[in-house]
Amino acid sequence: MTLQLDFTVNHGSFILDTRLELPDKGVTALFGRSGSGKTTLLRCIAGLEHPRGGRLVFQGETWQDERTFLPTYKRPLGYVFQEASLFPHLKVLQNLEYGLKRVPPGKRRVRMDQVIQLLGLEGLLARYPDQISGGQRQRVSLGRALLTSPDLLLMDEPLASLDATSKDEILPFLERLRDEQALPIIYISHSIDEVIRLADHLVLLDDGKVVAQGGLQALLTARELPFIRTESASTALHAQVSHPDVGDELTELAVEGQPLLIAKCSVPTGQPVRVKIMARDVGLALTPPTDTSFLNCLRVTLLDSLPGTLPSQALVRLKLGEQILLSRVSRRSAGRLGLQAGQRLYALIKGVALS
């Protein structure tokens, strides 16, 4: 836990009041409705806002306290804004070079050719920002930030202003970034799907205050948080690839020692992966059924049963080893099965998405 911050910002009608310790590895998502203070918090971390009395320590180095205020351009961070905000008077290559040139050669860890290749920018270098698409611009702005070899990457909804196609273009890059570079990322999003795909750690903000923070799965399945009460309630399970190819175009994963089959993917054996399982795709049985179409059947223990989004439904939280799985069933079924805490059950899983 080595990003410590404490900020109080008063913008008249809006007050941000946060005290946080964030991990300095993996992706931390700041999640909340618009106006919840995500962007303000990110701007405080970057030093683009200078609230009096704020405090910020990154990896033992004080960026801000009562006496110190390290200006943004001296902080080892990259910032990707919601709109790509490329410099309109510079070509793509010059945009990429802008930050790179200002980092002393000895401190450059990210090379131009790496970024061009990682983000697929080969054909764009000689163009001006107004000659390329929105998705391309956002990729350039991401590359431009990476080329400053930051120790911390801040991203303010980099996908929000993009259409679905452009999003699909960029998300894989962000995943590669997370997996291949040991670069801590703080990522703002109000899309839970993006969060599930990218985040390891989640900070939930509401009305300028931190409502909850913790590991992704713990927050997604927490009974007091709103996530489980949404239509798309889901969990993100940690698994490893055990057999990349088990025939029938399937790959076998191991979750807490139990097999889980997913559509075949090209991931090597032993590789940790994250799978998203929606509560509505999980059914329950008292005995292992033998003749159903469900591909996966996991042994679980019932943790508790909560009211569902509709009066006819119940949301059941299930313990799978150290992890938590969610299941949405009808209240009639819940009653018929006589569900109670501690009960041993079989979770039947319809859809599993690799994320």
Binding site: A46, T72, F81, H89
Partner: protein, 229 residues
């Protein structure tokens, strides 16, 4: 040249010097003011904007009169200068430079303010996150993005001073080689019915203004980079 006398040519050089000096100083001084006006959220900004625009509506002789009073030996500025052992500014070249600067203020502030406002704050924040110091940001971002604004400011202020008459006559007092500018010389020639000399000097002004504008518009076209506003 064109049958101009030495005295006529000297008025032309005084005009050129006046326009160049006052424009350069004015652009440098006005850039911070325009920047502030473009980005401040202070409500009293309209008062400043109105003050800056005043020379647009005031008759040049009125401005010239007030400046003459202030810059003269009994005025606030002139009196103060005299009290610390310097000379007052009425009927001096410095005096008409100051006058021209007041007179051209809106023509410099407004294009700069518009240019700064349209470039926006975001690009500067981006440059800040890309390790550019404030001075670095000014030269690599603000200046290139608002160069057309600077060009407009230069042209408007220069041209405006080039043709100014009433105010310079008030403050400058028509001293040959010092404060006698071309427009006043032309007026004098007409007064003495020396139409030939008036013609020659006018033609020089017309041609030099035209060449200047040609040069400026040529530069402006070269500045028109794709993507740059």
């Amino acid at each position: 040249m064109f049958g101009l006398t030495e005295a006529d040519l000297s008025t032309f050089w005084v005009t050129l010097k006046l326009a160049t000096v006052s424009t350069l100083i004015l652009v440098i001084l006005c850039a911070p003011l325009a920047w502030w006006l473009a980005h401040t959220r202070w409500k009293g900004k309209v008062v400043v904007e109105a003050l800056v625009a005043m020379p647009l509506v005031m008759p040049p002789t009125v401005m010239g009169f007030y400046l003459l009073v202030w810059l003269g030996p009994r005025g606030w500025v002139g009196g103060f200068l005299e009290s610390i052992g310097l000379h007052h500014l009425a009927f001096t070249f410095t005096g008409i430079v100051l006058g021209s600067m007041f007179f051209s203020l809106p023509f410099v502030v407004q294009p700069l303010q518009n240019a700064f406002a349209s470039a926006g704050i975001r690009v500067l924040e981006v440059a800040n996150t890309l390790k550019a110091s404030p001075l670095d940001r000014f030269f690599t971002i603000i200046l290139p993005l608002s160069r057309r604004g600077f060009l407009s400011a230069f042209v408007l202020s220069f041209a405006h001073t080039f043709g100014e008459f009433g105010m310079i006559l008030m403050i400058g007092g028509n001293i040959p080689g010092e404060t006698k500018v071309a427009s006043i010389a032309i007026y004098d020639h007409v007064e003495t019915l020396n139409y030939t000399a008036a013609h020659s000097l006018s033609l020089v002004l017309v041609l030099s203004s035209f060449s200047l504008l040609m040069l400026i518009f040529f530069l402006n076209r070269r500045f028109k980079v794709v993507g740059a506003a």
